[in-house]
Symmetry: C2
Subunit: 894 residues, 2 copies
């Protein structure tokens, strides 16, 4: 025990759950369970600080570390009455990684460390089971060689398969102790051939090798990918846990399992889990054997005939029940517990907050608040807003016709439909082309992460509810059906067959992750249910949130969806979307191609009634709530046809020759349209465009106001302002037209004129601009493009290289770049308020629906965020959490 090493077990426990950053999730919780007096095999944790030290010092350790490790090892030896390398009573340990955030399957683990040609005999003698000892040894050699010595595990599997073929047996368990002893010899020889030196026989050398491998694995590609996907900083590092081994594979009175204190798929308050008799823990997680239920109730419900733990080991089960209740009450959260039973004795190897579906998380949070275990604010804090995405997406229509070809485990809920592919790379390729994809695998492994992320849904033939596929899919919010044993996956022919049907690569499958059903073709879906726990939790969120939530919407349909989801106004109505509609695009094009102002005005006069109609519908849908309308923003050439057919059509309808049209289109083309003649610049050149739009807005507003319903609250927004003078000129234009229309109609309404802040210069000059503008809406898409100098449309070609190089942890177009773009927003907020203390401040880029960005908006005290209608609930929840002081959701426990 010292600076770098923290012991746990018996009375030497120094850590606890509050030391998660230092000890990692696993280490902190092992210490915590020890302090609670639960049966945890003794061990010690090497801290995350050590990992950081390691990487900062050219992969080397501090000099005092060796002494600290020796002392802690001696304590374990004393506790379990065994010694490292002792041929009579050998100490075996597991070496596991454990970072602050869970990275399932990412980090490497070594079990049975301490075995060598001498100690294997001791293990055989002590356990009275020679077969068990050699089985452990050959597993250790394979695992250690794979993880530490970089000898591919498939070599070992080939040797094992050859042996089984020689003997004419099918299952590993049919090999006897002699077979296994010979296998260990073959394994050792293989390692020596591959590595050019013998397998390390010294347990201390093995231990240092394993520790180095864990630290090394922190920087492997899989770990980097996972961190990238989950925005986990590289600096956090991982801890290493070294713990005395206990064995679930010491015969039929031994077992290993995983338990959840509530159902992780539904959130139902039932004890839930799986176990395997005579197995090591990895066997459950790896999904190689399909495990049995813990409770009789679950077994019966599933129609399974293999006995539950409650039936095979009633005392152990009772003890486990007491433990789970104690842990859930202690942690006040649903726990995911790993246990091992060694010759009838229960050991706990891990507890952590259990991963759960969004639906389960919602139910558990609401239930626990009602049970008094947590308060409502805590319930709100418990839900990752991003996870709501799962709940807000459609599920299969129960009434829809479906052609079920097989069923598996309902591993991660939601409906998914897409083309079948059989490997992760192809999933990425196809989905990049915009194709929805279903990834079908026999089982998944960490190598498949990128493909799972790219897929709409995941189907595996093997593995339980806690298999890699199931855990990762739930974490990602991807629908998943796992352990569908009725399907046959053939990688060779790229087909999956079930129920007599053969589905080839590229054909469409639908998965129902909530029922486990696998269907051919596409199945109808229905809208999500927004009542129940969802509604309850959202109302609690609304109680605490300070930020207003608006939606980005142009159509009455979108506006109604947004309102139903709880939007408190429209934060961004992009009028150009209206210009593209089929019935008006020809008038828009004539306006653009007109040779003079008179021609433009004539075409605009034809657009006016249609645009007015758009706004009437929108104002009706949003009566009583503010509606921010952004005047025309994109460069005019975006509305023009490019292809020859379209040009010919336009020539026919406009009476202008094709050659002339082509020339005019060419003249409007720009090198960098994003930085071109667009936004308010259009109106400086062609004021008549904004005049028409302003007229349409105010005619519509006065029409709807005249209908006597709730107030119409238009907010006219000028895009791409860089200088206060632009704003002045165009505000005068808007005020003038508004006055004209109000005079014509003989009625008045209140309105605001404000601007997007979407250029660095506008942010810097916000003090001036606020002298004229009544509100700012941060257009963080364009502000990110200009601040970073990155075109979002072109960033695809290098952002991946950037993530790989560790330059960007998150895509700045998804989550706001707080230290660059964010500083400009902070400057604009401060300067804007200095000039106009009551200026209304919002954000309407796509970041408006991103929880981390919403947390940033809360710290600046903005008035509202605006996002797509579908993300409104996410924003409501994120805003509530932000008000409670929660930032971006970090990775879950682990």
């Amino acid at each position: 025990m010292g600076m770098w090493v923290y012991d746990f077990g018996d009375d030497r426990t120094r850590g606890g759950r509050e030391m998660r950053n230092l000890l990692g999730g696993k280490g902190a919780n092992l210490a915590e369970m020890s302090k609670l007096g639960l049966p945890v095999p003794p061990g010690f944790t090497l801290t995350t600080d050590l990992c950081t030290h390691y990487y900062r010092n050219d992969d080397s350790y501090p000099p005092e570390l060796a002494g600290e490790v020796d002392a802690s090892l001696a304590a374990i030896e004393a506790s379990v009455g065994a010694r490292f390398g002792d041929a009579e009573a050998p100490l075996l340990v597991s070496v596991r990684s454990g970072a602050r955030a869970s990275m399932p399957g990412m980090m490497d683990t070594v079990l049975n460390l301490g075995l060598n040609d001498a100690t294997v005999a001791g293990l055989a003698a002590r356990s009275g089971d020679r077969r068990f000892a050699y089985d452990s040894y050959r597993r250790f050699i394979q695992m250690y060689s794979d993880v530490v010595l970089d000898v591919d595990h498939s070599y070992f599997e080939d040797i094992l398969e050859t042996r089984k073929l020689d003997k004419g047996v099918i299952l590993d368990t049919e090999l006897d102790s002699d077979d296994l002893e010979e296998l260990t010899e073959l394994f050792l020889r293989l390692v020596e051939e591959e590595r050019g030196e013998p397998f390390p026989q010294d347990p201390r050398a093995q231990l240092w090798g394993a520790i180095g491998a864990v630290f090394g694995s922190w920087m492997n590609e899989r770990a980097k990918t996972y961190r990238r996907l989950h925005a986990i900083p590289e600096e956090w590092g991982t801890a290493v846990n070294v713990q005395a081994m206990v064995f679930g594979n010491m015969g039929e009175d031994s077992a290993t399992g995983v338990a959840f204190t509530r159902d992780p798929a539904t959130g139902e308050k039932v004890f839930y889990g799986e176990y395997l008799l005579n197995a090591q823990g990895e066997d459950v997680v790896a999904g190689i054997r399909t495990p049995q239920h813990l409770t009789r109730r679950a077994r019966t419900a599933a129609g399974d005939d293999k006995p539950a733990l409650e039936e095979t080991m009633p005392e152990v089960f009772a003890e486990l029940e007491a433990v789970y209740q104690r842990l859930e009450a202690h942690y006040r959260d649903m726990q995911d517990i790993e246990f091992t039973v060694q010759q009838g004795r229960l050991y706990l190897l891990q507890t952590r907050a259990g991963k759960r579906t969004a639906k389960a998380a919602m139910r558990i949070a609401v239930d626990m608040a009602k049970e008094g275990l947590i308060d409502r604010a805590e319930a709100v804090r418990r839900i990752d807003p991003a996870s709501l995405d799962q709940l807000l997406h459609p599920t299969l229509d129960p009434a829809a016709e479906r052609q079920v070809i097989a069923s598996g485990l309902p591993a991660s809920p939601g409906a998914a439909c897409g083309r079948v592919v059989f490997n992760a790379d192809e999933a990425v390729t196809l989905s990049t082309q915009g194709e929805p994809v279903i990834l079908v695998r026999v089982e998944t492994s960490p190598e498949d992460i990128h493909g799972m992320h790219a897929a709409k849904g995941i189907l595996t033939a093997r593995g339980g509810m806690t298999s890699h596929a199931a855990v990762v899919a739930r974490g990602m919010g991807r629908p998943c059906v796992s352990g569908a044993t009725a399907i046959q996956v053939d990688y060779e022919t790229e087909t999956v067959s079930a129920g007599g049907r053969v589905i080839s690569k590229g054909e469409v499958l639908t998965l129902d992750g909530g029922s486990g059903e696998i269907m051919v073709g596409e199945v109808d879906t229905i809208e999500p249910e927004l009542a129940g726990e969802f509604g309850e939790l959202m109302s609690w969120a609304d109680e605490v949130r300070r930020l207003g939530i608006r939606a980005n919407a142009e159509t009455p349909g979108d506006a109604e969806t947004a309102r139903r989801f709880g939007a408190e106004g429209i934060g961004l109505c992009r009028t150009e979307h209206m210009f593209f509609e089929a019935d008006r695009i020809s008038a828009v094009r004539e306006m653009i191609l007109a040779g003079d102002e008179a021609g433009r005005r004539a075409a605009l006069a034809r657009i006016l009634p249609m645009q007015r109609g758009d706004f009437i519908a929108l104002f009706r849908a949003m009566a009583g709530l503010p509606v921010t309308i952004r005047l025309l923003d994109p460069p005019l050439h975006e509305f023009l046809p490019e292809g020859e057919d379209d040009l010919a059509d336009l020539a026919a309808s406009s009476g202008i020759e094709v050659a002339t049209l082509r020339r005019r289109v060419g003249r409007l083309r720009e090198f960098n349209p994003m930085l071109g003649h667009r936004g308010c610049r259009l109106a400086i050149s062609y004021p008549e465009i904004y005049e028409m739009q302003t007229r349409a807005i105010f005619e519509a507003a006065l029409t709807v106001a005249g209908e006597g319903g709730d107030a119409v609250l238009p907010e006219v927004m000028l895009p791409l302002i860089a200088t206060v003078r632009e704003f002045e000129i165009l505000r005068e234009l808007v005020d003038r037209i508004a006055e004209e229309v109000m005079a014509e109609r003989g009625a008045r309404i209140d309105y605001l004129v404000g601007t997007m802040i979407e250029l660095p210069r506008a942010a810097l000059r916000a003090g001036d601009i606020a002298g004229e503008a009544r509100f700012f809406s941060f257009g963080t898409n364009d502000l990110t493009q200009t601040t970073y100098g990155i075109s979002r449309d072109d960033s695809g070609s290098f952002l991946d290289d950037y993530r790989r190089a560790g330059i960007l942890n998150v895509d700045p177009f998804v989550s706001l770049d707080a230290e660059g773009v964010g500083e400009l927003i902070e400057i604009a907020t401060r300067r804007g308020r200095e000039t106009r203390p009551d200026i209304k401040l919002g954000i309407c880029g796509e970041h408006g629906g991103d929880p981390a960005s919403i947390a940033f908006c809360e710290t600046l005290g903005l008035d509202y965020v605006s996002c797509s209608p579908f993300r409104v609930p996410i924003a409501r929840l994120a805003a509530a959490r932000a008000a409670l002081g929660e930032g971006a959701v970090e990775g879950e426990d682990g």
Copy 2:
């Protein structure tokens, strides 16, 4: 006299030269001359504050103004013994504008105000010259109607022409007093018909009309254009000067003229000027009659036989000589003096610092410093750095063959060559298409300003050295030949003929503004002379300047030019220019189109020796001075062919099919290349490119260092950095390759690695980046593009609208936007220095050669500016002026 009105003349003078901002240049100098006791007709000045008040209050005056004007008028009446509207002794006044900055020809003037049907008789009686009185009256009606009542002057000219035809005479002077009296009647009738009300007969009404017209003309289009071109703020406003009339057209003992205390074209210390007998001042300026010389010496030198003022009025000339010496000594600058001789008596109507050519300015400043009139710092302050452009451009090779078809006055020096056009709009159109243009006019007027600005040179058939064309061309630095009476300009057929040659629109002419020669076709030019006064003044500038001056250069030729012009290093070597050279573009394209890293490396290996050769030549040319080399910056698709022919060539040379090539080229195309995969982003994706370039730099540097000359000082610059991590990764790359090369060569050199700061994010994160970077070079082109969100390539379509709307006074790509882009530079400078106090800071955008931007760099204390080789002397001078506390050069006196 009061708050808004300042009298001058006699003992009532309240103003003086120090009150220029309030009284305008003309008013301040009239007051100053009065105080010096010089013969200035009495008058008063309405202040620029009044103009501002007028525009801020809906074109209305403060109530107390009328009383103040009445009091001042009464004082003039008392002084000259005449009364406004008095039929016996009528007071006549001139009303002239006078802003802080000279706006020649921009503002309107009214002479002879006070004349009406009654007072004209009084004027006839008092002057004893009825013809003079009616001539004045008809001039007044025409001028007043044109300027105040908006009746086009051509109507009056038509009536006058008709009258002359009726009488069968050619010259105005052939009309007698009866003719003129009848003309006034016809004029008055015309005004009444056009305006629907009679011409104002009340002198007070006339006065208020004229004052309103002066204020109104501040906002006319010509004035706005002039201000736009000269960056004069609209808020300055103009003053109005009301002054008792004196008459240069009261017979042969009267005259009017313009004098310069030194030659405004050469700077030679000779009294210089022109006059017209029996004329009003406007006649000289308008260039309608070709005036006579002041001195006998000048007349003789020009071979002119019309007598000089020295000969016609020796006493007046002697008095004028005393005045000019007094004024130059008083103002310590070359003066431009307007005078009138009324019946033998000299009056001064204006003095101001005389406009001069760059060459004259240089000579005058150096001479005056040597004469002890000013000190060297003041001499440096006197030269507008931008004007050096004229001196640094080539002049005609005296040895070149030239086909001179005519000669005119050498009105503004320099050689110009271009296609002939006959009106200003066409000059703009053609020059926008990139064609050099010579604008040919009979005479120019303020309506031609935009065309003169667009033209390379100006040729007029009429007008002297002080005509509109000559003054404006000198101000703009455009070569000009004026008063070429031997040419015939025919607007109808769009031809100019001379010496029997007819030159049509579109044909090429060459002008020598230094000699006045007009030549057919293009004539060879020679490099400018950098010695003499130029060299002297530059050495004085170098004594006071603090900023270092570097050049942007890639070729040894450019580097040598830069060194000759005084550059102290290369601030920007754009390596991509080297990639485009014919002998390597195919290797570059193969590199880009290679399918993998190995293919890229193979192509890069072929480029390496060529690139190394480039750097060897550059390092040799700049031995002993720092050379900043920017690694590859543009997106790769810029190097690829677009046209079908080029594609076919590439297919032939690369062995790749055209279709494949077209597809690959298409894939590399970007929506917004400016914000795309370029700069350091290329090297994050393809490190091998920067590795090759770094190797080329260090191999070259060590080769040249090994030659034993002055030290080689490479500074490697990484472009488009947005995050410190990018910089870290690429600095490591550069250091690694540098170490490799130095190890291979067994020798070491010093070098720096730094970055462009050209993205807003980089400016904000400068504190982090400075932790890694040894220097920052502000890439203000891209920084302006991103901060403003304006693509320079696309801004042409709207920047003109922006200038017209008063949003931008200067193009932000020409002169640094201090309050937007400038704040980012200021932030980066501050944060960079906080992290690394000795960080080297420079600027290498095109602003590096702009005097106003250089002044801004001086205020921030940057270490150097870098500009094109040609602008190095301008930058040296601007840096010196900045060190002396001078900012941008404001308009000249006026």
